[in-house]
């Protein structure tokens, strides 16, 4: 106790502040244990499973399969279809979400009257259970008791139509993800220094030029961060689409995670499903890497 009181944070002596110095280790241990046991452990186990032929049966033997799962995945037409749908979904939801949220954030950042209502509404989907969001939109899309057919005078079964199901689901994705994106972009807008606007106003720049030359460049780091996160969240989406369509009709909305869920828990191919998870991780990291690299280059 006295030793601690003399050199409270290892700062006074200045010699050792590393994590392995006397005061640090007992405190860092509780930090590392939850991370190791609850995060690193399961993930490493999951990644290892991708290289085995693990099945769901209780007494099945599991053996090392090398890259066989990956070879099988690459020649699996159903996987490629699911992958294509996942990319269409992931990219379009992320882009639409961003554009819609940017517009809303810009409006919320102004002195308009309905701002309070819009602000509250913009956050509500964040707090709702994804299952409830899915069920709610099923009510909206419902062919008989729904809202849309009555509104448009059509008779379409939106979520069971081969060409409309994916766009319909994408709209729900945008609605669901708008809150986080809007809140983050709004916070970014509010931290843009006022002087910058004043400077270009003196130059006689219009609203559009101000947005293009000041707001957007200032917002760039925030935009890159939130769109990257959105893309990761969207590509890994499961609950929303499972409740809306279960991946139907005919697999037209079967996102990669729905495909993986079916492989693992309907057909029992644990190893194969894990392989799919690893493959999606690689793709996500590649897309993000490319995106961040291009952004960093353009920022120079």
């Amino acid at each position: 106790m006295t030793a601690l009181a003399q050199r409270p944070y290892g700062r006074v002596g200045g010699a050792r502040r590393g994590p392995w110095s006397g005061a640090g280790l007992p405190l860092l241990l509780p930090a590392l244990v939850p991370v190791l046991v609850f995060s690193v452990g399961p993930l490493v186990y999951g990644i290892l499973l991708a290289f085995t032929d693990a099945r769901s049966g209780r007494n099945t033997e599991t053996s090392f399969a090398g890259l066989r799962n990956f070879a099988e995945l690459l020649s699996d037409g159903d996987f490629w279809e699911s992958f294509r749908i996942g990319m269409v979904w992931g990219l379009s939801v992320t882009v639409l979400q961003f554009l819609a949220s940017l517009g809303l954030a810009l409006l919320l950042n102004q002195d308009l009257r309905l701002r309070g209502v819009a602000r509250v509404l913009a956050v509500v989907p964040w707090a709702m259970p994804p299952v409830v969001i899915g069920l709610m939109w099923r009510l909206v899309y419902h062919p008989d008791a729904g809202l849309l057919n009555g509104l448009f005078g059509t008779h379409v079964d939106w979520l069971h139509d081969f060409s409309l199901a994916l766009p319909a689901v994408i709209v729900v994705g945008v609605w669901t993800g708008m809150p986080q994106t809007t809140v983050v972009l709004l916070a970014g807008l509010q931290s843009v220094p006022k002087e910058l606007y004043e400077a270009v106003s003196v130059d006689g720049a219009g609203a559009w030029r101000r947005f293009w030359n000041v707001t957007l460049p200032q917002l760039r780091p925030v935009i890159v961060a939130i769109t990257s996160l959105d893309f990761v969240w969207n590509i890994n989406q499961f609950s929303l689409v499972y409740v809306l369509t279960q991946g139907g009709p005919g697999g037209r909305t079967r996102l990669p995670m729905l495909f993986a869920y079916e492989e693992a828990f309907r057909y029992g191919f644990f190893g194969y499903a894990a392989t799919l998870g690893v493959a999606i991780t690689i793709v996500v990291l590649a897309v993000l890497g490319l995106y961040l690299w291009r952004q960093a280059r353009e920022a120079d």
């Binding site: 930090a31 999951g46 819609a100 707090a127 409830v132 709610m136 499972y242 409740v243 995670m257 644990f270």
Partner: protein, 272 residues
Amino acid sequence: MTRALKYLALLGYVAFLAFPLLWLLSTALKTPREMALIDPTWIPRRPTLANFADAFAEQDLVGAGLRSLLVAVATAVITVVLALPAAYALARFRGPAGKIAIGWVLLSQVFPVVLVIIPLFMVLRRLELVNTLAGLTVVHVVFVMPFALWMLRGYVRAVPRELEEAAAVDGAGRLRALAAVVAPLLAPGVVATLLFSFISSWNEFLFALVILKDPEVETLPLTLVRFVGPEGVARLGPLAAASLLATVPSLVFFAIIQRRLRSGLMAGAVKG
């Protein structure tokens, strides 16, 4: 852009954000007869609460709600108890181990949940915890932990080191300094993390779908999804009613966090 155009755009947003919510509310208050009308009505002609009663009669909403509550409270408490010392260490000791740990927390968000749920399922099966609420709680703790760590680490960093050091210089030991100075300042952050963990668990669906097999142990999201059967229009009313009820806890807690996050407890703590 003119002001009128801006208002028009804002109204468009309000309409897009609000109409599914209003439709849910409207459906929950409608009679089956009105729901079958060709021209849908926004405001129910004869608003009824019968759907709420039916919802309780048709599914074990009370039981499912209580089970969800149990899992969510347990998840929140266990997560924060495990994460708080960890977050403190990660915030205060900036050695390589801490950096690696926090880097991992961020990176782990990139991995799809299938990679986590399959090994957890296998472990839980070996421990005979599949189909139990305890098993689901373990999975939820795993699921919430990274973000809870991240949140709490931020709150700890917001407590100025100088306050702690001042207390230590005044003769209080580190633990006393923690209890007397840091803990009260950290309390709102801890509450926010508790509520956030609660909401995450209360709303969670995929893990529950994988872990829980019997209706007797189902949590609320699973029960809600079971409303959607081939039965058709007649059950939409109770479905909407139950969905509304299931959203209430998340919404209320979320509203509380929002305020907590903004309460400037730290303002003036150092300079004052």
